[in-house]
């Protein structure tokens, strides 16, 4: 039901900003997040004892004999049936058993009814660790100064080649072996530019920390919590507890933001809570405080890109060579997939004849990096956009002209050889953002200096693949169930979670329109592995586009049956539904996703249709730089973003604005600082995310280049795209304002000053 809404929702509802269905519960405080769930009988609190050492041999665990342990449950590695967090590679233990590989690695779990005593218990555990030399720097890891993971510290590598026959077959060398064909292709160009670009860690900083409540009963294991992907947790439990699938019950509580941070990490906290619950026989609630959440959970992967490109004197881009390294942290987690997306976006939204991109992810002794909105693409888009700005400078042209000249258009071919047949809107987004922001006039005028501030403007053009890479959806087989309910209602059951994006509301809109019924005649079940089919994870900007299209088809199917019944025996939609149910019993449409048949993808050569379609965008940032302190303030932000079809424009803009502000924070104020593998700023007071005063006015233009297979008339993914363009647009604006070309993030005053001094030294 849509509560408290004074407006009548028109039909069809797609394209209308239907008020958030879960809104009333959220604005009244009735929505139950994990820490709000009623206490279960005999519930204990859980806590984690973590390694203070970045790398070492775990010799033993000492429990203070003076402490009264009688009412404390203790779990160690030896208590676990299979001590592995199931994900892509089984390299991460649930609790460290013999070695520790990063500071904050969990070693011992404790549970106690008394929270204050539990905190003392954590301090009464001493870990006996013999330190080994750690590696914190990804280039040192690549250089194998120490072997800290596997045979060579390498977690994953990819190679993309395109163009001339010899470039296309160039071997997959990463270290040492030279790439001669691409070098030759570049050398043949009129203008050659080389650059090195660095992107840093980022903390998701959802406002609700990670948390889970776990318990066991005759049905098996239960976990409820702040979870983006319930079936990931389900898989992790299957492996660790050797349980049958139907003995595991994972349910999402209302979730206070995720942004990727609650994609894979919840498996760990849920396993920990469930282990304590199993051993104690009592329910266990485990909620991280902010410090623990920042320290122990995943971050965005740092990334170095070395780019050399060649173009004609008229600016036509010809050849591109990229070597990129990502820092995966101590364990693999989702790194191969993040690296993949980063690699696939590294050439940017542009046409190149010859391309060679080699990418490699290495281990370091830092907490594992993982999913974060954008998933590797913001890092490489940062690099290629900065690089094109440098190319434009060398050509003596405005970057936007160079980008406009080379942006991919319909019929063009991407770096993986994908022919872009339709739904290509880079040029349109560019034009709209440039017009709205008065970019050209402002650039032509030059930086505006007034008093001690200089104002500049910059732009970024980018695309983001919607949905899983390549054949991902084919392996995944995402499913949705839609039930036909009494009175002509529909009930959606899916594992796609609403973590704030508005899935619940948008899915209802899609189903309602498909069935020709009202939005408030559609229900949405709480995502749970027991009652909902596996729709695939809530990631990769796939929820609306992929899962939404299954919802649409299932709703269509059901309504067709009801309408046939109306046709045959009369009555209303509701009456016909009731007759059908009376006759046949419960009626459900359980459908599986059918990926577009035109997609061909080769996982071994990394050639083909990398994504079913792309979202396109152009961001323009206007900044003020304080000429004394070099502090950067983003004062205005325009974004023209192609979403295919905006099912719910207000929510769609909300995604774009929220994602853009995360990009702005990443660019100017957010920075994780380290000492010996410890995070020195694990608090909201010193890891600075933007406040309402730091946020610019957002001027968001929705562009709609429909994707034929998208629901609601062509919706594409929108979740991640807005994270991609902010940082390079801001850096371009800073360059416009003060003439310093920043290649490294974040754009903090110290870094800008250092870069300015360095450039003055070289020009002197």
């Amino acid at each position: 039901m849509v509560h408290g809404s004074p407006v009548e929702i028109p039909r069809p509802s797609v394209g209308v900003s239907v008020p958030r269905v879960d809104g009333a519960a959220k604005v009244t405080g009735e929505a139950l997040y994990v820490d709000d769930l009623p206490k279960r009988d005999g519930e204990l609190h859980g806590a984690t004892v973590r390694s203070p050492v970045a790398r070492g041999v775990l010799r033993g665990v000492r429990l203070d004999p003076a402490f009264n342990w009688s009412d404390v449950t203790i779990v160690q590695a030896a208590d676990i049936a299979v001590n592995t967090v199931a994900l892509i590679v089984d390299d991460q233990p649930i609790l460290a058993a013999t070695h520790v590989n990063h500071v904050y690695e969990p070693v011992v779990l404790l549970a106690c009814a008394d929270k204050a005593k539990l905190a003392r218990a954590v301090r009464a555990v001493t870990l006996d660790i013999e330190p080994l030399p750690p590696v914190f720097d990804m280039e040192q890891s690549l250089a194998k100064v120490e072997i800290i993971a596997g045979e060579d510290n390498v977690q994953k590598r990819y190679l993309i080649t395109k163009g001339r026959a010899d470039v296309k077959v160039e071997p997959g060398a990463v270290n040492g072996e030279s790439a001669t064909a691409i070098d030759a292709a570049i050398a043949a160009c009129d203008v050659v530019v080389t650059g090195r670009y660095f992107a840093h860690h980022q903390e998701q900083m959802y406002i609700e920390p990670q948390g889970v409540v776990a318990w066991w009963d005759t049905d098996g294991a239960h976990a409820t919590g702040s979870i983006q992907c319930p079936f990931y947790v389900h898989k992790a439990f299957t492996k660790a507890f050797l349980l049958d699938a139907d003995r595991i019950h994972i349910t999402q509580a209302v979730t206070g933001g995720g942004f990727g941070g609650k994609e894979e990490y919840p498996s760990i906290i849920a396993l920990h809570a469930a282990l304590l619950a199993q051993k104690s026989g009592a329910p266990v609630r485990m909620i991280y405080d902010r410090k623990e959440d920042i320290e122990a959970t995943t971050k965005r992967h740092p990334c170095i890109c070395e780019i050399t490109s060649g173009c004609d004197r008229d600016g036509t881009l010809r050849a591109l060579s990229i070597r990129m390294i990502m820092d995966g942290g101590a364990y693999v987690t989702l790194t191969p997939v993040v690296l993949s997306r980063g690699t696939l976006h590294a050439a940017g939204a542009y046409r190149w004849d010859d391309v060679r991109i080699e990418s490699i992810a290495v281990a370091t002794n830092t907490p594992p990096n993982g999913a974060f909105r954008g998933f590797g693409a913001p890092q490489t888009i940062w690099a290629i956009e900065r690089h094109l700005d440098a190319v434009a400078k060398k050509l003596g042209r405005d970057p936007i002209d160079l980008k406009e000249q080379n942006v991919l258009r319909e019929g063009d071919v991407t770096s993986t050889g994908q022919v872009l047949r339709s739904s290509v809107a880079g040029a349109e987004c560019l034009e709209k953002a440039v017009l709205a922001s008065d970019y050209r006039a402002k650039r032509a005028r030059g930086p505006v200096v007034s008093g001690r501030t200089a104002r500049g403007i910059g732009a970024a053009v980018f695309m983001h693949g919607a949905g899983f890479t390549g054949s991902g959806e084919r392996y995944l087989k995402g499913k949705v169930a839609v039930d036909l309910l009494a009175g002509g209602r529909l009930g959606i059951r899916t594992a796609s979670t609403d973590i704030g994006q508005g899935t619940e509301t948008v899915f209802r809109q899609i189903a309602a329109d498909a069935a020709g019924i009202a939005v408030d005649a559609v229900d949405f079940a709480v995502p749970s592995t027991t009652t909902c089919p596996d729709s695939g994870p809530t990631v990769a900007s796939r929820t609306v586009m992929v899962v939404g299209s299954i919802v649409e088809n299932a709703a269509k199917q059901l309504s067709a049956r009801v309408r046939a019944e109306v046709e045959a025996h009369g009555g209303t939609f509701g009456e016909a539904t009731d007759r059908l149910i009376a006759r046949e019993g419960p009626i459900t449409s359980l459908l599986q996703y059918a990926p577009p048949s035109f997609i061909t993808w080769d996982d071994t050569t990394y050639k083909g249709d990398a994504y079913p379609c792309y979202g396109w965008a152009c961001d323009v940032a206007e900044v003020e730089v304080d000429l004394d302190t070099f502090e950067v303030t983003v004062v205005d932000f325009w974004s023209a973003t192609d979403v295919g079809k905006a099912i719910n424009p207000v929510m769609c803009k909300g995604q774009i604005e929220g994602g853009s502000l995360q990009a702005i924070g990443w660019a100017v104020s957010e920075e994780i600082t380290w000492r010996d593998g410890h995070i020195t700023n694990p608090r909201m007071t010193n890891y600075i995310i933007p406040t309402s005063l730091d946020a610019p006015r957002f001027q968001t233009i929705l562009v709609e280049a429909p994707f034929a297979m998208g629901p609601g008339g062509g919706a594409k993914g929108i979740g991640e795209l807005p994270m991609d363009g902010g940082a390079p647009a801001i850096a371009a604006a800073v360059e416009h304002a003060v003439g310093v070309a920043m290649g490294s993030l974040p754009l903090t005053p110290e870094r800008i000053l250092a870069a300015k001094q360095a450039s003055e030294r070289t020009s002197a």
């Binding site: 958030r20 519960a25 009244t28 405080g29 997040y33 206070g256 704030g500 309402s692």
Partner: protein
Amino acid sequence: MKISLTLNGAPRELDSAPLVRLLDALRGPLGLTGTKEGCGEGECGSCTVLLDGDPVNACLVPIGQCEGRAITTVEGLGEMAHLSPLQRCFIDEGGAQCGICTPGMLISAEALLRRVPDPDEPTIREALAGNLCRCTGYQRIVESVRRAAELLREGAAR
């Protein structure tokens, strides 16, 4: 110690150690979980409540200091069936996404609108600067507050 206070307009009593955080007293013995904890150190504002009409971070206020005072939490602003204009605008204008910051935001906005019926955008941003939101980019929150102020001025029913 015994503490008497007024909670969302109703007199309440509880027995508590005086140094217990108001946040824990609200969420625990007083049974109102609408007030959220995002940091526990006065930085995020998700625990904002009104103490005698002024917004405070409930994670920094010991319950012992609340004797005889009036506290308003999000539960005191309106109910599912009778939303306040501010609550309604947060839904309609997209001011709440994940919703975890929303109770604190609403309370800060409520305090503002009680003081300033016609706030301009910088005033709204200033009033919300102590409430972090990671989802919205703030624009729709500012818009929600502005719209609510308009409705209130037009004398919409409360």
